[in-house]
């Protein structure tokens, strides 16, 4: 092959691959979006999210009202600010609830969409027809995965306006919403790939579904529990004379979308809230709860609510992550290293998705052909040995 021919061949391979993916995709979408089902599922999904947003508002509104009315501000000058904070507390409540529920819904729905991708073709005996076409097995897997994810993506995208309600109240920025969306997409892709992988691995859709949900549970809840118990056991160890907290390695939690989401939500909390608490217990002493560097001379310290550490409002000397849009003293939000888990989660899920997709591609190759693609002709010796095969004598007998 000449050097100039190589890129041409590559390009045509890529075109073939793309065309095959598009073929599978259009067939799958035809089936999936035909009829009323898709429409009904999407409507229910959005209705549930809207209801959750409304619920968060209803719960938070009285609290916010008392917040706005009941704070004595030492400087006596910032009613506007307290009002803004009260509004932000509503926005933040909506944001945290929506984030958690959307993640749960994505984790719950995605496997149902993907766990049958390949195994249903096997069960319905259509896979043989498909793999005897010249399409690459990889294209079949990618097409099926994209088709399954397409609907998931549609649901996530359609729900963005619900999340955007938050922007009306404050409490979370566009950045926060983008992070939230990123986690939802990456989670959908990762769980989708897990579903397709198991679907290619086992023959039965039922088994693939069970395996996929189990894996999702292990990733979302199992890793947290394991981390928790590990930490508990290590801390309770007899050698630990001063009862210092010995944390399990946080790597366990890198593949947990819930932890990444908790981090995003914690980042929006106005005061030391539940999500911040979870993050602090995970990250331990390394967490910087206060803005860093702490303003040298805070002009005023206001305590909002009891319990947690004080929230500092200082002069506008704002670290990048703080919310300080208003002039005058502003509430500086407790800062975590904002994207620590987010980055690690996205990276590890990307790797996981890639590996499992490649594995699924191998698994779709017809069982008998899987390991022989690169085997070159050993035919001559093979044929010779076949001549003396036992069944010849058997037949004569």
């Amino acid at each position: 092959m000449t050097t100039s021919a190589l890129p041409v061949r590559r390009a045509s391979l890529a075109r073939d691959f793309g065309a095959s993916v598009a073929t599978i995709l259009s067939r799958e979408l035809r089936g999936r979006f035909r009829g009323r089902r898709a429409f009904v599922v999407l409507t229910i999904y959005l209705a549930v999210l809207a209801l959750i947003a409304y619920g968060a508002y209803t719960v938070q509104a009285p609290h916010a009202r008392s917040l706005a009315g009941g704070v004595t501000d030492p400087s006596g000058s910032s009613t506007v600010l307290t009002m803004a904070n009260a509004s932000a507390s509503i926005g933040q409540a909506i944001f945290s609830l929506l984030s958690v529920f959307q993640l749960l819904l994505v984790a719950f729905i995605t496997p149902a969409f993907t766990a049958g991708a390949i195994s249903l073709e096997r069960e319905k005996q259509t896979l043989d027809l498909l793999v005897t076409t010249p399409m690459r097995p990889g294209a079949i897997v990618v097409g099926k995965l994209l088709a399954a994810l397409a609907f998931m993506f549609l649901m996530i995208l359609a729900a963005i306006p619900v999340s955007a309600l938050v922007l009306m109240y404050g409490g979370a920025t566009i950045d926060d919403i983008l992070r939230q969306q990123l986690i939802l997409f990456v989670t959908a892709v990762g769980f989708g790939v897990i579903g397709v992988f198991f679907s290619a691995l086992v023959r039965r859709t039922q088994a693939a579904t069970v395996l996929t949900y189990s894996t999702v549970l292990i990733l979302v809840i199992g890793t947290l529990l394991a981390w928790r118990f590990w930490t508990q056991i290590a801390t309770n160890d007899a050698s630990n004379q001063f009862a210092e907290i010995r944390r399990a390695p946080e790597q366990l939690l890198w593949i947990n979308p819930a932890v990444a989401m908790i981090e995003v939500v914690a980042n929006t909390e106005l005061e030391y809230g539940d999500f911040t608490g979870v993050m602090q217990s995970i990250r331990g002493d390394s967490v910087t709860i206060f803005p860093s560097p702490v303003p040298d001379k805070p002009t005023g310290v206001t305590t909002l609510g009891g319990g947690g550490p004080a929230v500092i409002s200082g002069p506008i000397d704002c670290p990048p992550n703080a919310r300080c849009a208003l002039p005058g003293p502003a509430i500086v939000q407790p800062e975590l290293v904002s994207s620590h888990f987010l980055l690690r989660f996205v990276t590890s899920f990307a790797v996981l998705s890639l590996v499992l997709t490649l594995a699924a591609m191998r698994l779709v190759v017809p069982a008998g052909m899987r390991f022989v693609f690169r085997r070159r002709r050993r035919a001559a010796s093979g044929a010779a040995s076949a001549e003396g095969s036992p069944s010849v004598q058997e037949l004569d007998a």
């Binding site: 035809r30 005996q125 005897t132 010249p134 085997r375 002709r377 010849v392």
Partner: protein, 323 residues
């Protein structure tokens, strides 16, 4: 000219079981090659190897000169494969189903619509174009599956039991379609465990049993090579003595291996079953001699159809035993 199918010492074993035990086979362009054999003989395995679904344990299989394990993608472009068991996407319409497979083979969009119309015409589903696949009868689905093997105008069709599970009428329809495809110059490898179904359709036949290709060639060739002992059925008019004389005379004739009177002694006509070792010319001579000697022959026929007899002879055991 490159043969369309060529296998050399093809072996496929599952664990310790030999499904295909060294098959050598050559099918030339335009041939309709019928693979005949009892259930479990290795027909499906052989076809799956040729369809690039299974890799042979040993030996070599070439389609249009291309190795099925060396370059499966290129082989797939040249074959249309219809498995013995398969499903259909029942959430698609008939034309969408064919359009989907045409796209799988990257048939240009401009050509697809016209081609789908032609294919539906060939398989007699033109009026079902917009029906859902779900709503088709079994025979129709079978024909649709056959149509799907044709979307990319392949050189070779591999049809595994295309008529299995069909009622007699649908079988006839299927046979008519295959005949039409033969007219279009396709090379076809077709399998069946029912012999007469294939006999008139195929240009050559391979008899396969226990993973071995026992005989291959045109029907006449096989018959000739076997010097078949045919069972002749001769009906005679006349009283007991006349029949007895005929029986005696037959016993002395060349090629006759056995004579048996099968009907009740006094029935008219009397029926004899005669084992005869020889070809059709020999049979004609036998009949001529009987008539010339004044025996009143009212019926003369072969008791078993040629292929079936052949088959039993070659495989040497019954279907049931193998199944």
């Amino acid at each position: 000219m490159t043969p369309i199918i060529e296998t050399r010492g093809l072996v496929k074993s599952y664990d310790d079981q030999l499904a295909v035990a060294g098959i050598d086979m050559v099918v030339g362009p335009g041939e309709i090659f019928g693979l005949v054999g009892p259930n479990g003989a290795g027909k499906t395995t052989t076809m799956k190897i040729l369809a690039t679904l299974l890799a042979p344990t040993a030996g070599e299989a070439l389609v249009c000169g291309i190795g099925v394990t060396e370059n499966p993608i290129e082989v797939r472009r040249r074959i249309g494969y219809m498995p013995d068991f398969y499903g259909v996407y029942d959430d698609l319409r008939v034309w969408e189903y064919l359009d989907f497979f045409a796209r799988c083979y990257r048939v240009p969009a401009a050509r697809r619509t016209a081609m789908i119309g032609e294919l539906l015409e060939i398989v007699g589903l033109a009026d079902k174009r917009d029906a859902y696949v779900e709503a088709l009868s079994r025979g129709m689905r079978q024909r649709l599956c056959l149509a799907h093997t044709l979307v990319h105008d392949p050189q070779l069709l591999i049809l595994d039991e295309p008529a299995s599970g069909l009622d007699p009428r649908a079988r006839v329809e299927m046979r008519e379609i295959l005949r039409e495809l033969r007219g279009m110059g396709k090379t076809i490898l077709v399998s069946s465990h029912i012999l007469p179904e294939l006999a008139e359709l195929c240009t050559s036949v391979g008899i396969i049993d226990r993973g071995m290709l026992l005989k291959a060639g045109s029907l006449e060739e096989i018959e000739r090579s076997l010097r078949t002992t045919a069972l002749l059925r001769i009906d005679l008019l006349g009283d007991g003595d006349a029949v007895a004389a005929a029986v005696e005379r037959l016993g002395t004739m060349a090629g006759v291996t056995s004579v048996m009177e099968v009907h009740m002694p006094d029935s008219q006509p009397a029926r004899l079953e005669v084992g005869f070792d020889g070809d059709s010319a020999g049979q004609a001579r036998l009949l001529a001699a009987l008539v010339a000697e004044g025996h009143r022959v009212s019926g003369f026929s072969q008791a078993t159809s040629g292929l079936e007899e052949l088959f039993l002879q070659v495989t040497g055991h019954d279907d049931e035993e193998a199944a």
